[in-house]
Structures are given as C-alpha cells and as structure tokens.
Symmetry: C2
Subunit: 200 residues, 2 copies
C-alpha cells in the first residue's frame, strides 16, 4: 500500500512533481505574476493543458497544492489518540505535511505567499476545503456538533493560522530547522495560554 506503483502511477507523479518544481522555481526567480502557465509548461516539458490536469490553478501549481494529501491528513488525524487535546492533535497531524525533506520548498513557498497576496489567497482557499473535513473530525473527537457550536471550527481555523504565521515568520527570519520547531512550539503555547499581552 505504501508505494504500490505501476509504471503509470509513477510517471504521473513524476510529471506532477516536474510541474510543481518548474512552477516554484520560475516564481522564485521572476515573481509569480511574471510567470505564465505556458512558461511553466515549457519548463516542465509538458503541454500547457497538462498543467491544469494536475493543478486547478497557476497558483496551486506554484504552491504545490496536492488534493491527494487531503485523505492522508484526515486519516492521520483520525488515528491520533482520543485523549489528546484537539490543538495538540492538529499540531502533530499538520507537522506531517511539512516533513523535513520538503522543508526547504515550504520555506520558499511561505516567503512567496507572504509577499504575494494572490498566492496567500490561493493557499488559504485551498485550506478552506480541508477545513470542513478537519472540523468534522474534531467535532466527533470532542463530541461537539459543529453546526450547533462553533468550537470545532474555531479550533481548526486557529490552528491553521498559527501554523501559517509560524512558518511565515521562520521563513522571513531565515531560521534553521531547530529554531523553526521552537517557533512553532512557542506559537502553540501562546495560543494555548490565550495570547496574553507580553507585558503581563
């Protein structure tokens, strides 16, 4: 199940990766606005039409947004121990998304997203769809109906934003991996403490 691959599946994900790499590389060098889908297609050596077979938009290609990861993420969250507090469970689950080998890429993306609101928008828009599913899971875990009580959705949304701010901050400050981890931990701690004003 782990990587059950025929030649077909492998080639597909290779194409996908080539497109994502080309898109990110070009966006970093020229700015997202000055890169066209045709440019990306040419750099990835595929037809422009193929770009849209893998990503719903140019921005999604640059950010490497992968609809397939949604399932993985959800299962991962569902498998967290029941007694873990929602915020912690979400933090652990989300950490998988930013696995070490991808960290450099995520850093670049965070920086780009911060500098270009259109990318930011695409990122959050993509997450919005995932948000519904995560909310449902948290609702089940906590025994709270998301339609009645905004708590589950609030937890998910706050967690997402905390992760985003931490990553953005780390990327902007050129922190290394250890420092990034500390930053994320501190951010979650601040949220768990209710974001008190620093002066005390």
């Amino acid at each position: 199940m782990t990587t059950d691959v025929g030649l077909r599946e492998r080639k597909k994900s290779e194409t996908r990766q080539a497109i994502a790499d080309a898109a990110l590389d070009l966006a970093l060098r020229h700015g997202p606005h000055d890169v066209t889908v045709d440019d990306i297609a040419a750099a990835a050596d595929v037809s422009p039409r193929t770009v849209f077979n893998h990503f719903p938009s140019k921005e999604a290609a640059i950010l490497g947004i992968d609809p397939g990861r949604r399932r993985v993420l959800l299962r991962s969250l569902e498998e967290r121990p029941d007694d873990e507090p929602p915020l912690a469970a979400l933090r652990r689950t989300l950490a998988e998304l930013y696995a070490p080998d991808r960290l450099r890429r995520w850093r670049s993306r965070a920086r780009l997203a911060r500098e270009h609101p259109s990318l930011q928008a695409a990122y959050v828009g993509a997450f919005a769809e995932l948000e519904d599913d995560l909310t449902a899971v948290i609702g089940r875990r906590t025994g709270v109906d998301p339609d009645t009580d905004p708590y589950p959705r609030l937890v998910v949304a706050v967690m997402a934003v905390t992760m985003r701010v931490s990553l953005t901050h780390a990327a902007a400050s050129h922190l290394d991996d250890a420092e990034l981890d500390r930053t994320v931990d501190r951010a979650f701690a601040m949220v768990a403490a209710g974001l008190p004003p620093p002066g005390g």
Copy 2:
C-alpha cells in the same frame, strides 16, 4: 458623517455602491460562478470597464471589499486606549466594520464565502494586506518588534480568524443580531482561555 463631499465624490461612491449591490444580489441569486462581470455591469448600469475601476476583481465586487476602509480601520485601532489588551482592542475595532446597518449584507456575504472557496480566498487575500498594517500597530502598542517576535502577527491573525468563524457560524445558523454578538463574545472568550477541550 463629515464626509466632505462634492458632487463628484458622491456620484463616485454611488456607482461604487450600485456595483457592489448588483454584484451581491446577482451572486446570491445565481451563484458567483454563474455571474459575469458583464452581468454585474449591466445590472448596475455601468460599463464593464468601470467595474474594474472600483474593484480589483469580480470577487472583490461581490464581497464589497473597499480599500478605502483600510485607513479608517487603522486609525480606529490606533485610537484605542493603550492599556486595552490587544485581542480586545482588535475585537472592538473590527466590530466597526460590521456596523448594524450593514449586518444583513455581511451575513449574505459570509454565507456566500463559506459556500464558495473562491470567495473565501478573495476575502482572506484582501485581509492579508490589512494584516501587515494591523500587525505593525499591535507591535507598537505592545512594544514587540514583529520582525523578531511572531506575537503581534499571531494575535492579528487569530483575531481575524475568530471573527470570520463567528460570522460564518452566525450566518449559517440564522442567528439574530443579539445572538451574533453573544457568539462573537463567546468565541473571543474561548480564544482568550486557550481553546480548552470542552469536556474539561
């Protein structure tokens, strides 16, 4: 209001309002995707080109995103008493954005945004630009440098998300104004308490 108005300014904001109204109305009736800029222009009785003179995108027109309000909001935040905690100051400031006479419209927009990710993306993208400014103000208020410490940005982002979730929830549940206020209060209280799991 002391809106220093010549005929010119007034007519401009009237066309602006006409466009926003037409856009929202059409989007509510047919769904954002099935409304074209030409439709909006026709309904507002202006040229399609004029729509883009007032709004940067179709989505912005539907959501009535007004770049001019940014200044107002920032001044409002700067004028809050210094000893007010950041979360509370932001909550009060943002409340002005949803003044009573506009509440019905905001409700519709919240509902639309929730159902259509593209609108959600536009909404958040627009807010992202404001976020930088708000972050700077909070940084000054708390004496924390946003480039060194993620705290100010985190507070702003969490507040924005809290507001969004509350509004969305209220809109989806058809709460009346009093209930909406309570919902927002409760959401901010939950955040200030660190979002503990409901079971205790």
